[in-house]
């Protein structure tokens, strides 16, 4: 495996061929915002928050999907990118019903944290206030589509780590939603093993433990790295 040298935000960094801009940046302490990426499962480039500027390319690139190249010059935090990301978060906020004050994940929500770190104190767009159902048919977990950002982390973790592929995305556009099996209630799903990995990786309060009330849901996202390392390297690093 060859080593490649590149520049990210004026800092010379190195990474292995095949690594993404995103992972190399994080290894070197440059934290590019993200919502759909989570270490341990594949990337899809759905949220577009990790867009970066690559010198010599007019189009913005998704850092989580772009592999590093020798001599690349990457910028992750220009005014253009900041404006871009801010708008994405505002669009997400306006798309469904993200009401932090009554959310189980208040205080531990990745969307909320993104908005906070970007100084978003109001949304410039008109809220859509769509009507989405809440599925509490599962014995231990609940699914509130109103808080879903369609990052598909749950879909991927269920497919790639648990191997059940209970979840998928139904429809297209603003009306899409996460479904289990053939669209039946989660509790009636035959393929679901009830492992709860999807609940832990969900960035918002869309998937939650039953019995938790406002700001009580706390998620453990470290488990994923533990399981994936154990599976790939046969090392159980706590």
């Amino acid at each position: 495996m060859s080593v490649k040298t590149l520049e990210i935000d004026g800092k010379m960094v190195t990474g292995m061929a095949g690594e993404t801009i995103f992972s190399v940046a994080w290894e070197h302490g440059i934290h590019i915002p993200r919502l759909c990426h989570i270490g341990g499962i594949s990337d899809v480039g759905a949220c577009r928050l990790c867009m970066v500027e690559v010198e010599g390319q007019r189009k913005l690139q998704a850092a989580c999907l772009t592999q590093i190249e020798e001599g690349m010059v990457v910028r992750t935090d220009t005014p253009r990118l900041k404006a871009h990301r801010k708008l994405i978060v505002e669009l997400l906020m306006a798309e469904r019903n993200h009401i932090c004050a009554v959310c189980v994940a208040n205080g531990a929500c990745e969307l909320q944290e993104l908005a906070r770190s970007m100084g978003i104190d109001h949304v410039r767009l008109r809220y859509r206030f769509p009507v989405f159902p809440v599925d509490t048919s599962n014995e231990r977990f609940g699914m509130d589509h109103n808080r879903c950002v369609l990052c598909t982390r749950c879909v991927r973790v269920c497919d790639e780590v648990e191997g059940a592929h209970t979840w998928d995305v139904f429809g297209r556009g603003a009306g899409s939603r996460i479904i289990s099996d053939l669209g039946e209630p989660w509790g009636a799903s035959e393929s679901c093993t009830g492992c709860g990995k999807c609940v832990q990786v969900c960035p918002t309060g869309a998937l939650f433990d039953k019995g938790k009330t406002v700001a009580e849901m706390r998620k453990d996202r470290g488990f994923l790295k533990y399981i994936v390392t154990a599976r790939e390297k046969k090392q159980w690093i706590g």
Binding site: D159, H165, T166, W167, D168, G171, R172, I179, D181, L182
Partner: protein, 163 residues
């Protein structure tokens, strides 16, 4: 089975034809879209039962099969009416007055994307069917009607005896 589903032929060979389509693709999961096409042609719509059977045969998770089927407008998850009007809303047809056609159909039949309660007519819309020279165009039961007027639709509806 819903009352307006296509009546089963005396000797139903649709299952066999679907099976043949799948075996032609070696039951590969990559052939999902082609198989869904065949299933839709044979049955008119994709029922949960049909989707489950396809998922099983192609060894795919049911959620992905439904995900794909719901993504493409071509696939219908509900039974279609006896007759289908698909109004093209592409730019050329739009400019030539396609909205007036949708309005007329919605007034006389049902909202676009649905089927009349008696199962007679389905109204659909599409974004450019590639027949811009015929604008405004409507696909009526698979055949393209050219330069359609609301009155033309009225005549067509009367002919098939829609209310």
């Amino acid at each position: 089975m819903p009352p307006n589903a296509p009546a089963a032929a005396p000797k139903d060979n649709r299952e066999k034809l679907l099976e043949r389509a799948m075996s032609r693709h070696q039951y590969s999961g990559d052939a999902l879209i082609e198989v869904l096409h065949t299933a839709q042609e044979l049955y008119g719509f994709l029922s949960p039962h049909l989707l489950t059977a396809i998922a099983h045969k192609l060894r795919l998770p049911p959620s992905r099969v439904l995900g794909v089927a719901s993504f493409y407008h071509f696939f219908s998850l509900k039974p279609k009416g006896e007759h289908t009007f698909t109004v093209c809303l592409g730019t050329a047809c739009y400019v030539a007055g396609a909205l007036g056609l949708v309005e007329r159909l919605e007034k006389r039949c049902c909202k676009a994307g649905t089927t009349t309660p008696d199962g007679k007519v389905s109204v659909e819309t599409a974004r450019c069917i590639g027949s811009c020279g015929l604008a405004p165009a409507v696909i009526y039961d698979g055949a393209v009607l050219a330069r359609v007027t609301p009155e033309g639709l009225d005549r067509e509806l009367e002919r098939i005896g829609a209310k």
